[in-house]
Homo-oligomer: 304 residues x 2
């Protein structure tokens, strides 16, 4: 019974390990840029774990040579602060620690960030490009590629490390079935589109029911959670609620790739003690993808 | 005890009556425009009351000479339909019947409408102008005034008819206190900003607690529902939930102006049987303000 320990120690399944490769790549790119790139991180919280996470992000950016100015401000000052940062030519990127207001105002703030400084690529400018299959950052300039939202991108990159994809294939997830619990505009919906772009059949559940994404297009579907889970090669959870009914081993196929991006555990505790591949968090890879986006934004919009 | 009946029959308090004046004004403007203005209404529902409401809107637009093309489509086709309408030079305005997805995707769709065709003025382009006190529809052209979101505008106009405002005053609600239950990005927050722009002190409640708006700026405040209600001249409710604790007569001052814009009753049944002024819905005025916005958009962006 050493399998669980082996799996948990498998460096391929630890997003912090996977991130190292990407961070190293970004570091090389940063070193080639003569200007010191500056990102401002905005946190409106006194919650200690949140602050610790923010300081960890800061250290990771600083470590590769990106100036990361972490500011702790009042939530009601965020709107004006974002506008000031948008207008400040010394600032190349903006990162906001959500949730702040826990309502629609968070979407408002996310969309308020200038797309040229939106290193999370969570604003509607970028998700809209994904949904309409527009691969260019700005019209008419094929050298400037559009950004992808950082958490979905992090998840795609992690999945690639599990061996479930055919990385040489144009559609590396062709023939695979995925179930996602979360259809937020920032993670769940873009992720469903990206995975189905890669060839997967994606069942996307939220509290209003399921949709089926194929070839980046959604369709109405009548399927239960248990039916979807019983046919899935990959199960991804992102429900920030303790009331979510955790996914159990008896609901999924043996050897399923299981990934949770919620701050709350969404899989039963024994999920990794079977043959499944379990990725309990994606955080470090999200930060790595943000760094990547930062450099891409700099090159697209701020470089000489 | 004839007062309640009198109040309910008071034409000043019936939004359908108030709307007549505004609709007549818009009709005169429409008659002066040689092109036939075209609005497309998109409804993704088979719910009979929703469809009846949509057809009523259509008739109201048609009655003043605006071509209102009501289309019943699948919800998953909305995104592409909006993009097609944005690109169609024959279409001057777009109206979407929300809620559709009952999640963040509805905000996404709202923001997808081209601001030049957004007759509800519910997209972030317009609310952002309100929040930053930018009164111009486009930079540098003082002849083109910014739009205001239609339901908050409807509520402001209805309040003006109750006699509680000083219409000649630069700040017609100076010295007045308002409590609002709803801080959505489409109605509650813009309404709080607009009322406080007019001089009122506005307590804005949502499930995350209260904020105090003065001079269009929010501030943190520590006040209970009952404390806010006990000092308010105007109470406005917009909570689409049967679980909301209805506002009772014993919580408010005698003679309070009470207005509900939720589809669910948010005031106790006897609210109008006291000295209060009660406005149970705003729908017809919202449609009138949409018509007004339609003509303003046409003149700003589509006229010769």
């Amino acid at each position: 019974m050493t399998e669980p320990a082996e799996q948990q120690n498998n460096p391929q399944l630890d997003p912090a390990q996977i991130a190292k490769k990407y961070v190293a790549e970004v570091k090389v790119q940063v070193e080639r840029i003569s200007t010191r790139i500056k990102v401002v991180g905005l946190i409106a919280s006194q919650d200690k774990p949140s602050l610790a996470y923010a300081r960890a992000t800061q250290q990771k950016f600083d470590a590769i040579g990106i100036d990361y100015d972490l500011r702790n401000i009042e939530r009601l000052d965020l709107e004006n602060e974002i506008l000031a940062l948008n207008a400040d030519p010394e600032v190349h990127g903006i990162f906001i620690y959500f949730p702040v207001f826990h309502n629609e105002q968070d979407s408002y703030l996310r969309n308020l960030v200038d797309y040229r400084k939106d290193i999370e690529a969570g604003s509607q400018y970028w998700t809209h490009k994904l949904y309409t299959n527009d691969r260019l950052a700005v019209p008419g300039d094929p050298l400037k590629k559009a950004l992808l939202p950082c958490t979905p991108l992090a998840i795609i990159k992690i999945l690639a490390e599990t061996g479930i994809c055919e990385p040489q294939d144009e559609h590396p997830l062709m023939g695979k079935t995925v179930t996602i619990f979360n259809r937020s505009e920032v993670i769940g919906r873009p992720l469903a589109v990206m995975l189905s772009n890669d060839g997967a059949k994606v069942y996307s559940f939220d509290i209003n029911g399921p949709l089926l994404f194929s070839n980046a297009k959604p369709a109405e579907v009548d399927i239960s959670r248990s039916e979807a889970l019983a046919t899935s090669d990959i199960v991804i959870t992102g429900v920030p609620s303790k009331h979510f009914e955790k996914v159990r081993c008896d609901e999924i196929l043996p050897g399923t790739v299981c990934l949770n991006f919620s701050s709350v555990p969404n899989f039963a505790d024994d999920i990794a003690s079977h043959t499944n591949i379990f990725i309990p968090k994606v955080g470090p890879m999200t930060v790595a993808m943000c760094m990547r986006n930062t450099v891409r934004l700099y090159k697209n919009f701020h470089g000489a």
